[in-house]
């Protein structure tokens, strides 16, 4: 969406125009869900947090002042919710629960996507790789995981992500570099 279109959409959303809010859901829910799913490792949790993200948008959007940073604001809400969720789990001494392979649906696809003819072997390999990635991501430090996933799912630059997380750009890049090495090692020959 071009900036002027987003400006108009946000002006309507600020008035809590239902259609505008629905458009925001349609526009951002897939990427936000991806981020939340990868941050939490659970479809159910990601769904809850996605809904909470949009509810917070509805509550606070009149105070949001648009300076071309809407995505940064939106993804910050989602990332903060995921972080709060992780802290709550930690306080209760509960480990992060990863969905079993295939439980969450095929990576990058869903009932929203066209169902092509599945390749059973390819699908199995993909699911195994997906679970390995989930496990490695959950094994990374919270900050490393956040940076990688924010860069992957949002359209924010590393500089914007560093600002969002309130860390220097060099620190952000060093963290993501380390995390990528670990991810790549975990995935072995596949990449």
């Amino acid at each position: 969406m071009e900036p002027a279109g987003l400006d108009r959409l946000l002006r309507r959303a600020r008035r809590r125009d239902p259609q505008a809010l629905h458009e925001l859901v349609d526009k951002y829910s897939a990427r936000l869900f991806g981020l939340l799913y990868r941050l939490t490792g659970s479809r159910e949790t990601a769904e809850d947090l996605l809904q909470e993200t949009f509810l917070r948008v509805v509550r606070t959007i009149p105070e949001y002042r648009h300076g071309g940073r809407f995505e940064s604001w939106l993804f910050r809400i989602a990332a903060n919710l995921a972080r709060d969720h992780a802290r709550r789990l930690k306080r209760r001494g509960r480990p992060v629960e990863l969905d079993a392979p295939g439980q969450a649906g095929e990576p990058g696809r869903s009932d929203l996507a066209d169902a092509g003819r599945p390749d059973p072997v390819g699908e199995l390999l993909r699911k195994e790789a997906e679970q390995r990635v989930s496990a490695v991501l959950q094994g990374l430090g919270e900050a490393e995981r956040e940076i990688i996933l924010l860069r992957h799912f949002s359209e924010l630059s590393f500089r914007e992500i560093a600002e969002l997380l309130d860390i220097p750009l060099g620190t952000a890049l060093a963290r993501v570099h380390r995390a990528l090495k670990r991810l790549k090692a975990a995935l072995g020959e596949e990449v």
């Binding site: 809590r16 239902p18 809010l21 629905h22 859901v25 349609d26 829910s29 897939a30 869900f33 991806g34 981020l35 799913y37 990868r38 479809r43 990601a46 769904e47 996605l50 809904q51 949009f54 509810l55 948008v57 509805v58 509550r59 969450a104 649906g105 095929e106 990576p107 990058g108 696809r109 869903s110 009932d111 929203l112 996507a113 790789a129 997906e130 990635v133 990688i148 996933l149 860069r151 992957h152 799912f153 630059s157 590393f158 500089r159 750009l169 060099g170 890049l173 993501v176 570099h177 990528l180 991810l183 790549k184 995935l187 596949e190 990449v191």
Partner: protein, 153 residues
């Protein structure tokens, strides 16, 4: 320095792109998206209602304060009421705010009283004026009874 960081950023991006296929995630379910839209509609309605109520109440705060004063002077207060008022008397604004909130919680009557049904336009014309004012006065009485219950009179 900045250029080095930028180059480093490009390098990290290149490596991240190699892993992009593995970082994919399932998309949200259609029914879940529908549920989110329902939830935000409900929340938006609730917030719009609250904002409208605040706008309606604002001009009436003074009048309501006068009513409160009248009630305070005319209603004989029992010992419990006296205690309640004592507890709240440190900050009359807070006490009044609590009372308004309590009235608000009694439901739609208070909203109606200060709402569109009773509101006279700039030209003073309102065909339902007499009926609505009567209803509103009933509402006022009920609201005052609520107030009396709150302070234990």
């Amino acid at each position: 320095m900045d250029r080095n960081l930028e180059q480093h950023g490009h390098e990290v991006d290149r490596r991240l792109a190699e892993l992009a296929e593995h970082l994919g995630a399932p998309a949200p379910r259609r029914e879940h998206i529908a549920a989110i839209k329902d939830a935000i509609d409900a929340e938006a309605r609730r917030l719009r209602r609250r904002e409208r109520r605040i706008v309606r109440l604002r001009p009436w705060i003074g009048a309501a304060a006068a009513v409160l004063l009248t009630v305070g002077l005319s209603v004989p207060l029992g010992p419990r009421a006296y205690q309640a008022l004592l507890a709240a008397d440190e900050d009359p604004a807070v006490a009044f705010g609590n009372w308004v909130a309590a009235l608000d919680e009694t439901g739609e009557r208070f909203t109606m009283l200060f709402g569109d049904d009773w509101y006279l336009g700039a030209d003073g014309a309102n065909g339902q004026e007499n009926t609505d004012v009567g209803d509103s006065l009933d509402s006022l009485e009920e609201s005052l009874e609520s107030f009396e219950r709150i302070v234990g009179a």
